[in-house]
């Protein structure tokens, strides 16, 4: 099995169990409050780590390149216009980065 299929199988299986946790396994019991707070922080924490590696990640080094102005432009647009569609933020980042690469 290739890496991709291993990932697809493992993530799929675990996600099925996560989604069924309430209706099938836990019933009406609630999560303990502190567990709930930890789980709630997982999404922002992982998304931040992803933004960081996708923007500055290189082969075992931190790289500042054409991705940075692209992501910065998207960040500014998202902050200024909260209802900006995600695809518009993506297109803006791609366009600015592609231009920076042409210029550099």
């Amino acid at each position: 099995m290739t890496d991709a299929w291993v990932v697809v199988a493992a993530v799929g299986a675990v996600t099925v169990v996560f989604k069924a946790a309430g209706p099938v396994f836990l019933g009406r019991r609630a999560l303990p409050r502190r567990a709930q707070s930890v789980v709630e922080l997982l999404a922002p924490v992982m998304l931040t780590a992803l933004v960081t590696t996708q923007t500055f990640g290189g082969e075992r080094e931190v790289v500042v390149d054409a991705r940075v102005p692209g992501v910065a432009a998207a960040a500014l647009a998202v902050v200024l216009w909260r209802r900006l569609p995600i695809i518009a933020a993506m297109a803006l980042a791609a366009a600015v980065t592609a231009l920076a690469r042409l210029a550099g």
Binding site: T2, A4, V6, V7, V8, A10, V11, G12, A13, V14, T15, V16, F18, K19, A20, A21, P23, V24, R28, L31, V38, V39, E40, L41, L42, A43, P44, V45, M46, L47, T48, A49, L50, V51, T52, T53, Q54, G57, G58, E59, R60, A66, R67, G70, V71, A74, V79, R82, L84, P85, I86, I87, A89, M90, L92, A93, A94, T97, A98, R101
Partner: protein, 221 residues
């Protein structure tokens, strides 16, 4: 299911409620197909992942880690941690999912952020809304992933068109609604710091997994 007459909603009300939202997941699914193809996952694996995992951010995380040369283990851990919040969503709708155990197992797979949010919009959770919205979003997600892999296969150099920055922007836009509290903001900043500090020393993807420790800030009262 709600077969009783009157004001209780039907599955098709859920489908209708999700229609205005469908273009979002559709375009999102297209871009997942493009990234998965660029990451060398292969079209079949991408479509199977959309059909079984059905959770955008985790799928993007896994594909982008594989794309940047991370290990399968790092991709799995990152995606699983991102999806852990589904345990919390799932618990909130535990009492409304109908049927026997196996039916509930299948039905609960229709829980995604959007269907969950729509199902609770009247102050209590309504199963037909969740089911209808979930079904429409599922079809949009899996179908658009398949289309996206065709487009991704036709792209010769994703880097030249700034696709890498586009995915950073995607995660950023997904992140934004989560950092409304001070605690979330501090945890996010800590995660960024851990990721940057570890990047020179560990394989791609491993720094992401280490950054997840920042969520332990949730243990503080």
């Amino acid at each position: 299911m709600s077969s009783d007459a009157g004001p209780s909603p039907r599955i098709r009300d859920g489908v209708r409620a999700a229609l205005p939202l469908a273009p979002g997941p559709f375009v999102f699914g297209l871009s997942f197909g493009v990234l998965a193809e660029a990451a060398g996952m292969g079209a079949a694996a991408a479509v199977v992942m959309s059909a079984t995992t059905f959770a955008g951010s985790a799928q993007f995380a896994a594909a982008s880690i594989l794309e940047t040369g991370g290990t399968a283990a790092a991709a799995i851990v990152a995606a699983v941690l991102l999806n852990a919040r589904y345990v919390a969503l799932s618990v909130t709708v535990a009492s409304i999912v109908p049927g026997r155990r196996l039916q509930r197992l299948a039905a609960s797979q229709l829980i995604v952020d959007e269907s969950w949010a729509l199902a609770g919009r009247r102050g209590r959770f309504e199963w037909p809304i969740l089911a209808g919205a979930g079904l429409l979003l599922y079809a949009a997600w899996v179908g658009s992933t398949a289309l996206g892999t065709l487009i991704g296969g036709a792209l010769s150099d994703p880097g030249a068109i700034g696709l890498d920055a586009a995915f950073a922007a995607l995660f950023l836009a997904l992140l934004f609604p989560y950092v409304r509290t001070r605690r979330a903001l501090v945890a996010a900043a800590l995660a960024a710091a851990i990721t940057l500090a570890l990047t020179p020393f560990v394989p791609p993807g491993a720094s992401l997994v280490a950054a997840s420790a920042a969520c332990l800030l949730g243990l503080r009262r």
